[in-house]
Every structure is written in C-alpha cells, then in structure tokens.
Symmetry: D2
Subunit: 346 residues, 4 copies
Amino acid sequence: MIIVMEPDATEEQIQKVAEKMESYDFKLIFNRGDVMTVIAAIGDKRLVEPQSIASYEGVREVKLIQEPFKMASRESKRTDSIIDLGRGVKIGNGQRPVIMAGPCSVEDDKEGFLRVAHAVKESGAKILRGGAFKPRTSPYEFQGLEEEGLKYLAQAREETGLLVVTEVMDSADAEMVADYADILQIGARNMQNFKLLKAVGKLDKPVLLKRGPAATIREFLLAAEHIMYAGNSKVILCERGVKGFDSTYTRNTLDLAAVPIIRKYSHLPIIVDPSHATGRRYLVAPMAKAGLIAGAHGVMIEVHHNPDRAYSDGAQSLTIEQYQKVMKEINELIDKFIIPVAKLNV
Amino acid sequence: MIIVMEPDATEEQIQKVAEKMESYDFKLIFNRGDVMTVIAAIGDKRLVEPQSIASYEGVREVKLIQEPFKMASRESKRTDSIIDLGRGVKIGNGQRPVIMAGPCSVEDDKEGFLRVAHAVKESGAKILRGGAFKPRTSPYEFQGLEEEGLKYLAQAREETGLLVVTEVMDSADAEMVADYADILQIGARNMQNFKLLKAVGKLDKPVLLKRGPAATIREFLLAAEHIMYAGNSKVILCERGVKGFDSTYTRNTLDLAAVPIIRKYSHLPIIVDPSHATGRRYLVAPMAKAGLIAGAHGVMIEVHHNPDRAYSDGAQSLTIEQYQKVMKEINELIDKFIIPVAKLNV
Amino acid sequence: MIIVMEPDATEEQIQKVAEKMESYDFKLIFNRGDVMTVIAAIGDKRLVEPQSIASYEGVREVKLIQEPFKMASRESKRTDSIIDLGRGVKIGNGQRPVIMAGPCSVEDDKEGFLRVAHAVKESGAKILRGGAFKPRTSPYEFQGLEEEGLKYLAQAREETGLLVVTEVMDSADAEMVADYADILQIGARNMQNFKLLKAVGKLDKPVLLKRGPAATIREFLLAAEHIMYAGNSKVILCERGVKGFDSTYTRNTLDLAAVPIIRKYSHLPIIVDPSHATGRRYLVAPMAKAGLIAGAHGVMIEVHHNPDRAYSDGAQSLTIEQYQKVMKEINELIDKFIIPVAKLNV
Amino acid sequence: MIIVMEPDATEEQIQKVAEKMESYDFKLIFNRGDVMTVIAAIGDKRLVEPQSIASYEGVREVKLIQEPFKMASRESKRTDSIIDLGRGVKIGNGQRPVIMAGPCSVEDDKEGFLRVAHAVKESGAKILRGGAFKPRTSPYEFQGLEEEGLKYLAQAREETGLLVVTEVMDSADAEMVADYADILQIGARNMQNFKLLKAVGKLDKPVLLKRGPAATIREFLLAAEHIMYAGNSKVILCERGVKGFDSTYTRNTLDLAAVPIIRKYSHLPIIVDPSHATGRRYLVAPMAKAGLIAGAHGVMIEVHHNPDRAYSDGAQSLTIEQYQKVMKEINELIDKFIIPVAKLNV
C-alpha cells in the first residue's frame, strides 16, 4: 500500500498514520520528497482497509499495489481453472469454447421453447439458457414464469441432453433454482447483491457471474471473490457490455479487452454475451466471433423460435435459421483457427 | 411510440409491424419519407413493450414519446408529493429541507455512536442514518452488525427523538429492518434488485431509494415505479453520484442536474448524498450546499465520532466538529436564502 | 423530425412551432395524444437545425429520424467505398485488410526507425506509420521532430516502397505534411478541430480520421462529413478506443461494435488501432485480431526498435520480434478465415 | 513515481528499470514484497515520462505521486491567482463572482445583438460573450460571422463598457481575434488542440479554457499548463459538462465537484457554464446558483433576444426577460450569502 500525504501534512499527522500501520505489523518505508511525504507499507493488506487509512487527516491518497481480490487472482493460482459443468462438458483454457444458447426468457409456448432447445443441441452448443425469473427495468414488463419456467428447462434438458443455465434473482430462491439448473446465473444488475452472492457461494453448483453495467474489472473480480469466499470456487465470468456514453446504436458497450485482461489477472474462465451487450441482432455474429478470437472460453447467444413474439429482448434474439448460420461461422472459426492456434501455443 | 423502419424495409415488413400495433388498439399514422417510413403509434404503451416491436425485421429503431414510468411521473400527479416521515417531519416541496446524518455503518462502539446521534440531534437534523447491513465491494471488509446494529439505532432514536433510516439489503430481511427503522434505505447497488424493491413496496414505511451508479434517470424512476407498483407510494429518491471516467479525485460524479430534472419529470421528493458521491471530506460541504440550492428536498451527510477508526468510508466522514461547522453553513443557507426565495415563489 | 411538445404546451405554442416548420416546406402530421402532442415533420432536415426547434417554448424534445450525416451515409451511397491509397494498395470492403505499422513517433535515431520500416515491409504490411507532429497531454513531453521527421518518413518510403501515414495537427501545416505523406492522419483529440477538417478536406489525399475519445458514432461520422463536405471523399475511419470508467488496466475502452455499426450506417472503410486503445503491449494481438474478425478493413499497430527507449507510448509498442510474431498470427487469420469467409459471402 | 513490477518479473528486468531511473538521478527505494517488487523513485519527474518506464518488460504499472502539472498547481503557487481582465474587473478568490453573458453566436441581426448587450450590462454582468467563429458538429449548421462578428462585439463593447470574450478556433486566427477580444476562449472540443494552446500562450490576453467533454481534471490542468508553459499565465478554467451515459434529459453531465477539486489542486480561477452543460433552459438557473455555491469564481450564461430564431443553441438560451429574472436570483445569492460567508472565512 502506498500512502501519499498532503504537501502540508504535519509531522504529527504522518506519525499518526505510521502508528496505525505499524499496529497491523506493516513494514514502513518513508520517502520524504521536496513536496510531499510518501509512505510505502508492506504487509497483509487484508488486515487494513485502504479506505480506513484514507480517512486520516493529512492523507491525500492511498494507492493499492496488490489487487484486493485473492482467491480469484492469478497470483493465488497460476494454472487456469477448468470447471466441470457435468455431462462431460468443461470450460476453461485449453477446452473447446463452450456455446450457451436459448431464448432470453422461458415463455408459456413450451412447444416453441423445446423447438429452440433441439436446434441449440443440433448446432453443437452444450448449454441451454433461458430465464425463469426475469429482472425487468419496468414493472409493466413480463417478469418470468418462475418455477413453471424451471420445469420447462428441466424437460428440455431431459429431451436434449443439454446442460441448463438460468438466473437466480433472490437469495430466497437460490436453493430452488439449484434444484433445476446445472449452472446458476447471477444477472448483471445483481452483480453486487452481496446476499445473493453469498447464497450461491454456499451451493455446490457452478455460477455464471455477469459483469455489472458499471462494474470495473476490479469490482467484477471482487464479486467473484464474494462467491469464492463463501465456499464456491466454480465461478465463470461473463462480459456483457458496460454503460457507455453512446446508446444510439447499441444497448451497452461490449468491452472485449476485458477478456485478455481477466485472463491475465485471474485464473477463472470468462465468456462473452454479445446479445445483451449490443441489443441488436446484426451485431451478434461479429461480436461473438470477436470475443472468441480475443480469448473467451465461450459465448452466450440468444435465439428464439419467433423473436417477433418474444416477451423480452426480441430485438437481439436470432431466429432459429439465423442462429444456425451464425453457429456455422462460429464452429468454422473454432475449428479452422482457434483450435489450431491454441495447439500451437501449447 | 415512433417506429422508424429501415430504408430497405419491405412493404410486407411494414404491414407486419402495423398489424401487431393495431392488434393492441394503437392508432397508427404513417409517414412515408423519401428515405424511410416512420410509423407514429398512439395508444397505451403499457400494453406493448417497445423492445418487442424493435425485434421485428425491418425495424431500425423504436422511440418512446411518453416516459415509461407512470405512477412516479409528474403527468400522473401534478402536485408535489409530501411524505410524512413521522414525529412531525415531512419531506417534499415547500417543506424545510430535511437533513439526515450519521455514520456510514453502526459499529460496536455504541457509546461513540450515541455521541454522534446526540450531535446530529443538536445540529437541527431530523433523521439519523447508520448501516446495520453493509454492502461491501470486498468480502474482507466489515459487513455490519446486522440486527445488533438495528438495536443501537432504536436506542439512539429513543434517546434523541430522531427518526432512523437504515439499509435493507435482502428481501428476506425487509420486515425485520422495518420493525426498527422509520425509513428503509435501498442502496445504490441494489437499485435494480427487483425482488427487494417489491418486498419494500409491500411494507408501509417510507423508502429512500438511492440511484444506481450506472442508472439513467429513466431507470431510476422506473425503479421507484417498481416500489409504487407493489403498493408503496412513499418513495424518496437520492442522487449519490454516478460512475464517471475520472475517479482520481472523487469516487463518483455527483450529477446535480438530476435534482431539477427529477423535479420536472416526477412528483417525488429527492435528496442528495454528497458523502458517498465524492468520497472526500473536503467536498461534502460545497456539494451539500450546491445540492440544496439546486432544489434538493434534503441532504444526507456522514459524520463519525472518530473517522480515523471508522470501519467503513472514513475518508468521507466528517468529525463531529467538522459536521457542526458544515451544519451551521447549511442552516444559514436555508434560513437566509432558500426559505426566503421559496416563499417568493409561492 | 419528431417534435414532442410538453404536456402543458399551449395551442399557441404548438402553432408557433408548426408555422416555423411549414415555412421550411415541411409536411406536418399532428398526433394529439391524451397526454401530449407530437408533430411528425417530413422534409429536408438540412434546412432546419433540430436545436433551433428545441428552443421554442413548449417543446420537450426533438427526435431525429434520419441521421444528420449525408455524404458519409449508407443511404447516399449503397456500395462500399474502396479508397485507392496509391502504389496498388486499396482499402475497403472486399480488399485484403490493410496493415499499418510503425513507431508512435519518428525519433532522432534514424537508423533504428529505418530498421522498423524494413521489418514492417517484410511482414506484409503496406503502410508505415510514424508521428512527426505529436499531440502530447503534457507540455513537458516530446513534441515530435516536425519537418525533420517527415523527411525520415519520406526516406523510409523510398527505401521500402511502403506508403506513409502521418498526423497533421494544425491547419497551417496541412499542405506541408501532404507534400510528404500518402495519407493524412487526424488525431483523436483533433476529431472536432473543424478548421483542420476543412483544411484536409481541400487536399487531394486520403485522410485517416481517428474517433475522438468522447465522440459518439454520430459525431464521428459528422466529422467525416466535414471533410467530405469540403471536397475530399477519401476518408478512412479509425476506432481507437473511447473514454471509459475503468482506466486501471487499459488506457481507453476499445469499442469494437463500432466496426459493424459503421459498416451498416456508412460506406466508408474503417480500421482499428488496438495500440492506442489499450495502451498495453499484451493486449495488441488479441484486439487486433478481434477487430479484423468484427469486420475492420485494416489495423494499425505500433512497433518500435527499442520500446524501452521510445519517446512516446513505449508501453503499448511491440518490439520488432513481438511484432513479427503478431503479424504471423494476423496473416494466418486473414488467409485461413477472413478471406475464405468473405469469398463465401460474395 | 512508484513502479510496480509484475509478480514474475526477473531480477534482470528489475535492474534494467533501476539503471534507467538512476541515470536520471532518481533516488530509488526497493520494496520487495512476497508477491511483487515495488520501486519508489524520488526525483524530478519531468526528466522522465512515466510512459517510458511503463514500457519496460516486467513493469506492471507506474503510479504518479505528484501531479504532472507544475505551473498550474497549488504547490507551485500557494496563493490564489487573481486575473485582471481590464476596466477594473478582476476574477479569482475574494473577488465578487464575475458574470459573463450573451448569445451563443453573434448573428447578423446586429440590432438584436446590441439589445442583448445592453441587457447584459444592466443586469450587473461584466463580460459579454458571443461566438464569431463557431465549432459545429455538422457542416450544415451556421459556422459564424467570423471577422464581421468580431466587429459587432467591438461595437457592443464600445456602447456598453462591457469586456468581451469570444472563441478562437484555429492558431492562424489567434492574433486577429486578440485584436478584438478582451478574453480569448478555447472551446471544449479544442481543449487538446495543442498548437492552438501554444498560440494563445504567446499572446498577452487572458484565456478562458473550457474543459473537454472527456477530459479528466488532470488533462484539463495539463491543457492549462500548455498555455502557461508557452508564456501566458492568465488562464481561467471553465467547467461546462462532460460526456455522461445519460443524454436523454441533458446534453452533458455538469461535474460541479470539479470546482472545489480544482480550487484545491490549482491556484487558477474557475467558472461554470450551465448553459452548454445542460442544453436546457430550465436547468440554467439552478445549476448557475449551484456552481456559485460550490465555489466558482464566475458563471457564463447564454441569453438571446429571440431564442426561437437563434442560429445555434436556442434551446439553452434564456430570453432577455428570463435572463433578468435569473440574474436577480444570482445577485441575491451573491449578496445575501456568498459574500457574507466569504467575509466570515477571511
């Protein structure tokens, strides 16, 4: 931790900070410049919150050296995490990228939903997505079929052999959703719902954690840390776009550089969701492929049997035909380029 | 609703959109320009989600004319809402701005906490703040005293006669917190925790809803709408800063223009929290005063009996002495300028 | 143009707006809803500024239907622009993606610079980049060799047969730079230096226009429109990252979705600059490849013979060896995937 | 400067960085932690660019301790700068806040313009604003009367005794504009047009420097530094809003906390422009007053004799009557609150 004192900090203020740090067994190195004093404090940062030092009179700024996340960090685990999702599907470095696909929400047209599930299966994807609990910006929008939707998902899994990922919105529902799903999804707007992170952290199911629309990469990895700290290390990260200043042509700004950055700073797998990121059908294919080339361990794509009639997010959902065409391109990219290059790097 | 078709949309695509809209009893007006066709649809927007129209092939964009929030809107209620908080304290237009103050979190030094409570009372503030459940970015930080903290708050209320505002973090805790608190706070990171919004919407307690760090004003008012839709119309909004591109000198960017904007578009009262917005002690006084001048119906300020020892957010907390000085300035501004001008406008 | 009136707009205010629009030969359609009146105005938007209508009393908002850029728009020219850069090199749809590479700035070590130029040539790139005039955030940093640097660039071109792209910073220098360069670059921070746009718009040289760090896509295409309006239609766009809220791990947020969006809305070619966007060496290769997969017509990469000694942007510059490795991957991606798929789509 | 090495940096890489720093006479302190090595380098940062150190292999990050601006910094000059604008008007701490007002652009209705000028004079404002050269996002919009407009400004000055502030858009025009104006304005989109900053830095006229829409406070003060470094220390800063993620209700996000932050880190005066920041007439008064309460040394307000007919920015321009009402409130705030409090603090 680097503590920068104000230029007019008094010697007494400097000493007060020093005493506090020493009381936590930090080793201190003082750099007294012409303008200001800087204190380098070496020790276990977990013992003291940077904010609590920043609150001392005479302190201008506290700069972190080490990242505040531990279990999620590359330093704590040098090898990439490979997460076993069940039924022989694994996600992580060195594995074939995993495709998750399905409608935004599970709707009451079960027959249509099952048609999508079969198309997902045939395309080579391994995981079926579909929301039974839907977080919606407006209370006047479709809120999901809840447990009924989970049952449809379970039936689709039985029929197709696909794994199922679906969202948990509230700590109270976590166990019930876990009874049906293979992977528990935490939505972007719940990324810092800490009670919910703790609840899924206590379950023995992989968690797909979506990045919050205003979350820095550090905050994103700290949210993963909450889940790991509660006992569940099977966390898959998902970049799905952040709030940007231009929402005329896309819903969010897909931050693809987050993929190689997270691969450098963390051992956890990361996927990309181009559908929610862009909110536009024609952008799904280019951004899915770009995500995979940038190093994502998977992508999540929305497909609906009838997007015109979708209860949510139809504008970004592909039709089954469009989806099949996109999957052909994606599979070609994986087979012709991504896997051969990956082998080269081994 | 205005539906802009792509320049190359076919007549068939246009008709398909038209049929959908007419099936919802919208009245349609077609504007066929040289380049593209634009359809103006007049009717009850709640019946159809803009996203579901945007999903049709050939649609470029759907533009809203009316705001999607109803109960929170100025159109639904022309007069300003005045919310009765109990013990004779009211918040809203025409009332003396309400000051809420206290430590970020309630900590185990009860005696120190009560000292702050008495200082808050003496300064003329009406409401004591203090978190018993603390959302924390990192799992290694202090998470709050939970119910024990609520008891301290209740004791402070009894001793001082102040009202108490404190955060609910999870739908499961809503009723328990409501047993202790006069006002239920929804934290910024939970602004779109819809299960929680629904839970507090079913209680008969005023709710202080903080703006999410990436929430547009529309999303903010839609979050309020969730609470109102569930049955609770006593919502107080709180601007507390949004994510900006410069976090070198402040934690967030305080968006003060949101105050007069919300006063124009909604009838709900709005306050400003300069402490969380800026994260720096020296910015609290100027931004609190600026918020009040901009039209806020109150401000929320952090004060701690010993910020150096605070478990959270010490850097933005004022000492009791600093707080007293700031309150003197604030009261002077209210008495000398805000109240006289308000009377002028009556 | 859609003009949304305030709910409490008077009939007189509505008429005043209507008269103004009719005086410009707009055809008006009135939609009088329960809450507010909306006027759809059909005609040539260039004749009237939306802002000037927004200024009328009683107007809540003016929404554009057609994009405000004309010459740069897909509507004005359905076929993709292919720009001939000279020496047989063309950029645009259907052409092999063009690689531009070289150091951030041309420095006084001419021998080192020429070594880079030869490496660029051998890698299969077609264009040499290098700044002679350098915009620098701080006045204490290296500002470029100016005309001397241009001479180095000319010599490198002569020796290698590469084309040369370099930045013009001021309208007064435009002609001089054009005497040396094959492509004139407008830097991101000058994207809205309208006098400069006009100056290069009067020259007969292709212009590489970089997106400003806070420019929306609309503003970006309007900047291109300034150049085209002044007479020069040979504009190449360059996405180089925008300001985001997280600058801990990258300098800017590379907005790769801008590539397919611009390809939809404009006929102009677009390239990606992963070096300036990310500011980190290890991010250059993944983001360059992602940009190409997303549909970019080229990429611009920084390479320096000795990044440790670079006068500017060394942290994002590849060494010659790193550059050669990245180019091998890029060429493989182009040959194995991008060109075959492009042929498929023809 | 703090240099953070990668966890896997080799001893050789650490030594290479150390040698470079020592060659610039930096004193080095090594902090070898369990995870990574951190080097604190004490010396004159101007001698070495942080970026050039960040480019070394094995360096993770370079953190600045001292701000990179010097002449603009509070450290270089502890007392606030008071800038003499001529005709007895001074701006800076302890002076009565200076009001600048006038139309966005000087238009051909000279009689109307002079009417505004007289109203500005009568309201107690000291400075007349008006653009003769207009930067416009679209080439189809009014670009200004250029020198003709400067003549109108000069005439208005003669008639009213007001000082005149107007924008310079290009280094080539700087001297000509300086012949007419008392204060040279640098527009937000030219904040990093370094040739222009240098040009006005060589003139002996006060410069009003507007903050760029994506400029951090550090970049803003470095732009001021460019002007000061070229020889002109009479720089007035202007906060006018930054790009935000919500442009539904305002054009930009007015960052009012920038006022007290800049007052802490710099000795230069700072004003607020609520008209350009918000782009909405009804937001001008609350944000002007909020700016003054937050500590601004002045405000700039747009007023037009006929906003409905304005060539630019009518929607944010007040009518003369509205302006008079706003000025009454502003003068009252200054007289009743700001000046008495300032006296108290002396």
